[in-house]
């Protein structure tokens, strides 16, 4: 391109160089090909697809109007859902502290603990809450306890990872100052690291509580307590007006959770 005489390029302008344009077209072509492959080979019955809007409309019509007759037990289940999310978040926060400490590069005692910490984080994060719930329902039996433990197991990885990153990002200077005072390792953590990580700690805990509120709504579908149990029951008995009532309550719960968490964020940070 650079070897072209100047006159030729003066009345010609394009935004990208040839290479950039080729890259862009290549990317586009690749995307189109991938989508075409997915569309052509996916195992769906296309008649059903064309029929889907009617079916959705039909289902929606059957849901209307929502039926509030079962509201007391729905609200009780919602309260249970809030308890699952709150208790699980609290316990997970406490448990994730040492995990974060050993999986942050600047605080971990040695290589081995670093890898143990990372292993805990990865295994907790990669397994979804529902799968944890399946496992714990098998152990504790159906109910709220299995739900709490499942949410907790999933949260540890999330909290530990973000807290560990917060620890890695701290300013090392106060640490140096306290080392120069002759403070022990534990007191350095207490005075130079904890105060610096505190804002991240609250932010992450509140964020996870908000997420857990959502996750707790589905635990009941595998028998682990909360509003999901009522939802499952209503779906199984084709009680669509109650299903829509439950969905509305969940919507209210999630919006409530978002309001509370943004209020707490503002208040604490």
């Amino acid at each position: 391109m650079g070897t072209q005489p100047l006159q030729q390029t003066l009345d010609h302008w394009s935004r990208f160089t040839l290479r950039q344009r080729l890259m862009r077209y290549g990317g586009l072509l690749f995307t189109v090909l991938v989508v075409a492959w997915a569309l052509s080979s996916i195992d769906v019955i296309w008649e059903w697809v064309w029929d889907a809007p009617t079916q959705m409309g039909d289902l929606f019509a059957r849901m209307m109007p929502p039926d509030p007759s079962n509201l007391p037990s729905i609200l009780e289940a919602i309260w249970q859902t809030v308890n699952i999310a709150t208790l699980a978040t609290m316990i997970a926060v406490v448990v994730s502290l040492p995990v974060a400490y050993i999986s942050a590069q600047n605080t971990t005692p040695n290589r081995v603990t670093l890898w143990i910490g990372r292993f805990i984080l990865v295994s907790s994060r990669s397994v979804n809450t529902i799968i944890w719930a399946l496992l714990f329902v098998a152990i504790f039996g159906p109910g709220i306890v299995a739900g709490i433990v499942a949410i907790m197991f999933r949260s540890i990885g999330f909290l530990g990872k973000l807290l560990g990153e917060a620890i890695e990002e701290i300013d090392q200077k106060p640490v140096e100052a306290l080392e120069a005072c002759g403070a022990s390792r534990f007191k350095i953590v207490l005075y130079a690291i904890v105060p610096q990580v505190m804002p991240a700690f609250f932010a992450v805990a509140i964020l996870r509580w908000d997420i857990n509120l959502r996750e707790s709504t589905v635990l009941g579908l595998v028998g682990a307590g909360g509003i999901g149990m009522i939802l499952q029951g209503a779906i199984d008995t084709f009680n669509w007006p109650e299903v829509s009532m439950v969905l509305l309550t969940i919507l209210a719960l999630v919006v409530f959770g978002e309001v509370v968490s943004s209020y707490m964020r503002k208040k604490i940070l």
Partner: protein
């Protein structure tokens, strides 16, 4: 200045003592009460421990004999994730413009925000159950679910990005007499494009994750394979599937992180 110079207390976080101790009390009562009323049936737990042991001993060693089934399940998950990402982005772009305070008029803005809030509020598993009931078992229900899931995330962040754009560029376009679409194309789209591409790649990654879960309630993909294996007590196959899921998730997280870093 201080009456007794030998005593110092850290100023409390909440100054009002009534409020402070009230909060402590409420918190303590809440925790104690909920913990105390937890229905833990220890006989059931010890019984469950035996069952867990059976599950684990049945799961080891993981069984990769039916790897054909495994690969098919994964390919289906991948297809679901790809189609849902593309569909989700196609829907998200207009929705994001609707939900951007600086572009849309008030009623449209509230409509756009409302749709996004509803899409975000419901866990994919709940959405999947509803779609499975409406359009039947299989990957189509899964793809619809993940479209909703993608819209909730991509449209929200994209709308926020649109609200942050440099409005000077829009004014410049208007001042040379450009129409609404030309203004969008020249002043808004270039500013949000990198964000959109980044979000798309991120969403593909999280759709792949989510598709493993929504399959459990019948929406196709590897999740369905996993649920079947669990249901048939093929714990060794279930473990194999879980291990592969974890591996693929780690891989796709690494790949999407790498690509996003390259683009940014």
């Amino acid at each position: 200045m201080t009456p007794d110079k030998a005593i110092w207390r850290k100023p409390p976080f909440i100054r009002n003592p009534v409020l402070r101790y009230g909060l402590y009390a409420v918190l303590t009562i809440y925790i104690v009460a909920t913990l105390a009323t937890l229905p833990i049936d220890w006989d059931r737990v010890s019984d469950g421990m035996r069952r867990a042991q059976r599950i684990f001993s049945g799961a080891f060693p993981p069984n990769f004999d039916r790897s054909g089934l495994l690969i098919d399940g994964f390919l289906e998950s991948l297809k679901i994730a790809i189609l849902a990402t593309v569909g989700g982005i196609l829907l998200s772009v207009p929705l994001a413009f609707m939900a951007a305070r600086n572009i849309a008029i008030k009623p449209v803005y509230f409509l756009g925000r409302g749709i996004i809030i509803v899409a975000r509020s419901f866990h994919p598993v709940i959405v999947a159950i509803i779609f499975v009931k409406a359009v039947g078992f299989g990957p189509f229900a899964g793809a619809l679910t993940l479209v909703v899931y993608s819209v909730g995330f991509v449209a929200k962040l994209l709308a926020e990005r649109i609200e942050e754009i440099d409005f000077g560029q829009v004014e410049a376009m208007r001042s040379v007499g450009a129409g609404f679409l030309a203004t969008l194309a020249y002043a808004v789209v270039p500013q949000i494009m990198p964000r959109l591409v980044g979000l798309g790649i991120y969403q593909l990654d999280s759709n792949l994750r989510a598709s493993a879960v929504v399959g459990i309630v019948g929406a196709g993909g590897i999740g369905a394979t996993l649920a079947n294996a669990f249901g048939r007590y093929d714990y060794d196959f279930a473990l194999a599937i879980t291990m592969v899921i974890v591996g693929v998730i780690l891989l796709s997280e690494a790949v999407s992180g790498f690509i996003r870093k390259r683009i940014a």
